[in-house]
């Protein structure tokens, strides 16, 4: 099931929230586990077994590590950790990458091994990373092994973050397994956050996604420079609003259920360097790689040469994590190169640049990056880039003008929504209110703000429902992740 579906919105969600509310606190985790399993099984009735296996496997691994810890058998603990990592990555590799390996092998050696007939289980990249964060942290003694199987299974399968993140490390959520408070305020804030996310996905991402889809499916030969850039920007907006919309929905759902999930996006397109971009984009993935790969590899503590190698490994794998195709790896390495350049000299150099220029620089490399990400076929990708840089087709043509006319308003809305402008305006308004008004008026103002925001989010809900019912374009972008 996905959040941006009518069935989730109008049946699953209200049902789960109502039962959850009336459920006695001690049974809530169990209920949430059942609900999550139903959520996953709805779309993946068979592959749920893989997730269940993964859960049981790492639950046992955790317990075993605890057992050997108590017996002071350090070597055995290490073996268990290794088993857990090999097991998790093995599953991930088998289901996600074996066909890529077979195809690449075939191309290299001109042999013709048959591809395996396996589909990628949804969310596998997310939940294997989550369970790994658990066993590694148990090994490092950052957390105690979880004895309650229901709590652990609930953590792995929790439906808000199950299929598209954020990647919640076990450590971050451990203390929320019991004693969660369900306040009215949390529920309201959670609902509002969810609706904002829904709007980002259904109203913004899906609609502009249609433009990218049109261009990507079309004949590149009839594309103009302007058209190619329009397409690249369309995808840039689509992936951001889609992905951050999902994260907002997840965080909001978590809040409704009394959880605090980590933030995943912080205005990434406002960045003034690629380094900054990656601190603001898909934060939980970046943190995961730093915590469980970069730092264990030695990070920057073992000399420059080792650091460069480490960075390369991290970015190679970050790219590969996004999908079983070499273009994702290219995308990762592309950022490795830029980040290295920034570390070496660019960041220092840029300090002297005007803000606008730094901003343009960052956006440029981000947008070009998304082309590498979005166009899988290397031949087509190269062709598309050549068009973007004016090496092939005319600057502008009728189709590009038509698209600009069709999507112009939406593009302006997207640009504003991706910026910090709305937030800043709100802040300004609030400050203004505080300065001039009495305390009584401030209270009133807060109420007015709440009412307005409520109406706004309900409107978003209604428009989203309309778009979902009318069967508008509604893709799921993370089936590759």
């Amino acid at each position: 099931m996905v959040f941006s579906s009518l069935i989730f919105l109008c049946i699953f969600l209200p049902l789960v929230i109502v039962i959850y509310m009336v459920c006695p606190a001690k049974f809530r985790n169990f209920f949430l586990l059942l609900a999550s399993l139903l959520f996953y099984a709805w779309g993946e009735p068979c592959y749920i077994l893989i997730m269940l296996f993964s859960t049981v496997f790492d639950y046992i691994n955790g317990r075993l590590m605890e057992y050997f810890e108590n017996k002071n058998q350090k070597r055995k603990r290490k073996w268990i950790l290794l088993l857990s990592i090999v097991g998790n990555l093995g599953i991930l590799f088998f289901f996600k990458y074996s066909n890529l390996l077979i195809q690449s092998w075939n191309q290299l050696t001109e042999s013709s091994w048959k591809s395996l007939e396996i589909a990628l289980p949804i969310g596998i990249s997310f939940y294997t990373f989550q369970t790994m964060s658990y066993t590694i942290d148990v090994y490092r003694e950052n957390v105690k092994a979880q004895r309650n199987f229901v709590d652990f299974a609930m953590y792995v399968s929790m439906f808000p973050q199950l299929i598209a993140g954020p990647i919640v490390r076990y450590r971050q959520i451990e203390d929320q397994f019991s004693g969660r408070v369900l306040s009215a305020e949390c529920q309201v804030k959670g609902t509002q956050r969810f609706l904002i996310g829904l709007g980002k996905k259904v109203i913004l991402a899906n609609q502009i996604g249609l433009l990218w889809d049109n261009i990507a499916q079309g004949d590149f030969r009839s594309l103009s420079v302007a058209g190619a850039w329009l397409g690249a920007f369309a995808y840039t907006f689509q992936i951001y609003f889609d992905f951050s919309g999902y994260s907002d929905m997840a965080i909001g759902l978590g809040q409704m259920l009394g959880f605090t999930l980590p933030e995943n996006f912080k205005h990434p397109y406002c960045s003034k360097s690629i380094t900054e971009f990656w601190r603001r984009w898909h934060i939980t993935l970046g943190t995961w790689f730093r915590e469980y790969l970069y730092i264990p590899l030695g990070g920057n503590r073992k000399g420059l040469q080792k650091q460069i190698v480490n960075l390369f490994i991290v970015w190679f794998l970050t790219g590969l994590w996004h999908g079983a195709s070499w273009n994702f790896v290219l995308w990762g390495i592309y950022f490795f190169v830029i980040l290295l350049a920034e570390k070496a000299f660019l960041l220092k150099e840029m300090e002297r640049w005007p803000k606008v220029l730094r901003h343009i620089y960052a956006i440029f490399f981000i947008v070009v990056g998304w082309v590498l990400f979005a166009v899988e076929d290397f031949g087509k990708m190269g062709f598309y880039l050549q068009i973007m840089f004016g090496m092939k087709n005319p600057i502008i043509n009728e189709t590009a003008i038509y698209y600009l006319r069709s999507y112009g308003i939406l593009l302006v809305i997207l640009a504003i929504a991706a910026s910090r402008l709305p937030y800043r305006l709100l802040q300004k308004l609030r400050r203004h209110m505080l300065r001039v008004e009495t305390e009584f008026a401030v209270k009133k103002g807060k109420k007015a703000e709440f009412v307005l925001y409520s109406i706004y989010t309900i409107l978003i809900l209604l428009v989203s429902m309309g778009l979902l019912i009318s069967g508008s374009y509604n893709p799921f972008l993370y089936f590759r992740f």
């Binding site: 209200p14 929230i17 609902t191 609609q207 004949d219 009728e398 038509y402 009412v451 989010t457 809900l461």
Partner: protein, 372 residues
Amino acid sequence: MKNYYRIYIIAAFGIIAFFGLFSVLLPEKGYSENENRYLEQFPKVKIKKILSGDFQEEFEESFSDQFLGRDVWMKASTTVKKAAGFQEISGVYLGKSGYYITKVTQEDIDQKQYLQNLRYVEYLGKTCGGTASTILVPSPETILKDKVPDHAPYYDADAMYDEAETVLKKAKSVDVRPELNEYAKQNQVYYYTDHHWTLLGAYAAYSAYSDANQMLKHTYSYFTEKKITENFLGTTYSKVMPANPKEDTMYAATNVPQATVLYDGVERNNIYDVEKLTQKDKYGYFFGGNYGEVEINMKEKPEKKLLVIKDSYANCFVPFLMESFDQITMIDLRYYKKSVQELLRENNYEQVLVLYEISNFAQDTNLYKLVY
């Protein structure tokens, strides 16, 4: 503040739960007049279907189709999209002066298929024994260039007509564009909310066809048009579902000879189907929609025969020709199961006409049947 919170939660969850509940509980709807299609029904629970995921997929589709107030939701969403400046919805251009025009781009046209289809028609022309001609009806955009949104991409019709000209020697292509352009200056030749041409549009083609074949030609007024409905909302309307569409007025030619008509072998006395006027797809009034074979007999022992290989554009066109022939047989290759060549051998057709809307023709994969 607490009260405010409560109201908000009740409002938000009330809306989603209300629609969720009643969409499932209310009796299922079968056919959607507005969308001109059968709605998906809730599937029966079967373990096998659940395990394969088919049940879930069907359930989601039916849930969307059976959603409470579906039409209103769709119209609202169209209104929002229009306000956001969108120029097309579900593959239909939101044209000017109330026109909804199907979007057909160069990439939608399979050039190979088109050429192949032309060759099949030419083969028919060579083997039919009579005079053969082809009318490739222009897409609305070709005639109503100023009605599609500015700069909107469209396929290159001129090139396609040129190609038809070169390939079709025996089954000569009758170019109806000049006549249609002429009539379009003053009158409506295509419907606002449907992909078909109007009666007048069809008459323009009749006029060109008669001239090309040196046949006796009547004036439009001779056929005595009759207004059959004032609120026709067609296929492009169904795709877009705009809130305030310009409803179409539909006319039919009444001064046509009496005829007995065989619809796939079943005899009926009328070329028009009044029943269809109570339904949404009122264009079905002409010959009751699409049949594999429709045989129209003006005389008991027909001598002057016409065979029409066609799509639905012919349905309002053919009545104009009834006076000129003793028998007209219409064949829709999508549904025709018998051998065309055998039909040609059994009948001594004086004329054979292939009539398709050109982008339909280019995409049709049934024309190979002409050879067998």
